[in-house]
């Protein structure tokens, strides 16, 4: 069915997924998003990864016709977001970061009204609402007022609301924020099922793990700019897998600790003067005991040594340091 929706324009091919070229949004002096390029094929998941304020929500708002882009262009499900907003809205489902459900209505009625606004008949709207309440574990709470829901329940209702019209393209802004681990795993499974059935999904997240587990492709945003783009495997290869983190009692010990662990690292160790830590990305085969021995031989006073998975912070440290390296070399 997607073949039918594929069109061709003079500016290149447009497909039934999501495309963006040079998409940018300026608020006053600030560029919330700049030069964003996306190419999300139908039936795949894109993870937009970044901290608060990185531009994730602004990007989603532009793609869902809520906010007009300052520069560039984008198409969703084969329709231009600026020129054909109605066609885009017919094809998408959106769950914003702030749950946008109506607290003064029951959960079931929230879904029914949205179904009616999507053009479903009364009967179909009622049937769809019941299905979704069941699917999101809200069947028992369906007839209660949403203002009495817990945060996690509101969140799930909001996601259900975004799926009422079985959209071709789904946008979820930090969908798992505020969910407990069990609900999060269930949601991940739901999303995988949807995508297997052909839905295209763009989700934003602050968690590297989430992007890694779900996304086919990841775009890392920092201050509105794309700092990295690729498959989770490629990104992890670039930023290194595990980290060894050494904590020292005094700031004076930091340089000694850094030089002691440098030879285990696949990149330069990073200092954190606030937390009194030295962090270094290590090769998969590195043994923690060797690191401890090296620190001991160098006579470094250490309060803690441990090994952990890379976090989003590590990604940024690694990406920004590599960029600085490049710039330094260029200069």
């Amino acid at each position: 069915m997607y073949e039918k929706m594929v069109r061709h324009t003079t500016n290149g091919s447009v497909h039934a997924g999501v495309r963006a070229e040079g998409l940018g949004k300026q608020f006053g002096e600030l560029w919330a998003v700049r030069e964003l390029d996306l190419d999300v094929h139908p039936g795949t998941i894109l993870g937009l990864l970044g901290h608060n304020g990185a531009g994730k929500t602004t990007a989603i708002r532009m793609l869902t016709t809520l906010s007009g882009p300052t520069t560039g262009r984008a198409s969703v499900a084969g329709h231009d977001v600026v020129a054909q907003p109605s066609e885009v809205r017919r094809a998408i489902g959106v769950a914003a970061q702030q749950a946008t459900v109506d607290g003064l209505l029951e959960g079931r009625l929230n879904l029914e009204l949205i179904g009616r606004l999507h053009g479903l008949s009364k009967r179909d709207a009622r049937r769809r609402a019941a299905e979704l309440l069941e699917q999101f574990g809200l069947a028992d709470a369906g007839d209660r007022l949403v203002k009495n829901y817990s945060g996690g329940m509101r969140r799930r209702l909001d996601l259900a609301a975004s799926l009422v019209a079985s959209p071709a393209v789904l946008f979820l802004d930090e969908p798992t924020t505020g969910l407990d681990p069990l609900a999060r795993d269930a949601l991940w499974q739901t999303l995988r099922d949807l995508v297997r059935d052909g839905t295209t999904l763009i989700l934003t997240t602050q968690y590297l793990e989430e992007a890694d587990r779900l996304a086919d492709d990841i775009v890392v945003l920092d201050h509105g700019r794309t700092v990295a783009q690729g498959t989770p495997a490629a990104l992890k290869a670039r930023i290194g897998g595990d980290r060894v983190e050494v904590t020292v009692p005094l700031p004076d010990e930091l340089p000694a600790a850094a030089s002691a662990v440098e030879r285990f690292g696949s990149a330069e160790p990073a200092h954190d003067v606030e937390r009194l830590t030295v962090t270094v990305p290590v090769e998969p085969g590195t043994r923690l005991v060797d690191v401890v021995r090296a620190l001991d031989e160098a006579g470094v006073d250490v309060t803690d040594v441990h090994r952990r998975e890379a976090t989003l912070d590590d990604v940024f440290i690694s990406l920004t340091t590599t960029r600085e390296h490049r710039e330094r070399r260029a200069a």
């Binding site: 608020f27 708002r61 869902t64 016709t65 809520l66 906010s67 007009g68 109605s86 809205r89 017919r90 998408i92 959106v94 914003a96 702030q98 946008t100 459900v101 109506d102 607290g103 003064l104 209505l105 009625l109 009204l113 949205i114 009616r116 606004l117 999507h118 053009g119 007022l145 609301a161």
Partner: protein, 263 residues
Amino acid sequence: MSSYASDTLVFARRNVEHIRQIPEKLLDVTLQPIMFVLLFAFVFGGAIHVTGGSYREYLIGGILVQSVAFGMMGPGVSIATDLTEGVIDRFRTLPVPRSAYLVGHFVSELGAGVLAIAILLATGLVVGWRVHTDALHATEAIVLLVVFSAAMIWLGTWIGMLVRSSDAVQGIVFMVVFPLTFVSSAFVPIDSMPDVLQWVASWNPVSALAQAVRELFGNPTTPVTKDAWPLEHAVVASWLYCGALLALAVPAALRRFRARTAD
């Protein structure tokens, strides 16, 4: 039914469901006007004298205008709440004409306005108010009140989009409606006021509206003490006021809605 009409009715139904959940939302158009009628008819009324009829018959025209004016509050509060809570963003990502949302609010609020008018007329009948003209004039009075209600709803819609929180709406509406209705012929005849206030009350649009409703129902009216055209030609002036209010408030509300939902 066209899809625009059905979308509008879905939004209107949403507001009706809100009232079902929080019946207090309807207090301002149900119990509050009845309370005002009883208060003025039985507590203050004995001290107020009108020529050409009873005070209770005089009162109803004034309270009708005041209650309809308070109709600004409902749409103002609902829309301000939707905007601050982000519900509006969900609606804006649906394949629905954006104006259907505003028109839906309008439809349900107009229903509340008509209900308030009906409740007041019924209360009036109970305390001794009567229509002394023919059906045509009485109908014109009611249509005038409904059109005035429409204008007030759009004004309230606009206010709801100007404020930063729904709490502010109540303050603004009270600050506007109370002085305007009390320094007018709504509750007391103008000739009982000091000279300066007589000027203010004679030119106050609320006086003209109350006067028009009284004339059309054949109730006692306020003596015209100052040379104020709107009060001397109350029915014509009232239609002009309502037309001007609608011509101002509807485009202002639509423009403000576009601005508030632009980014």
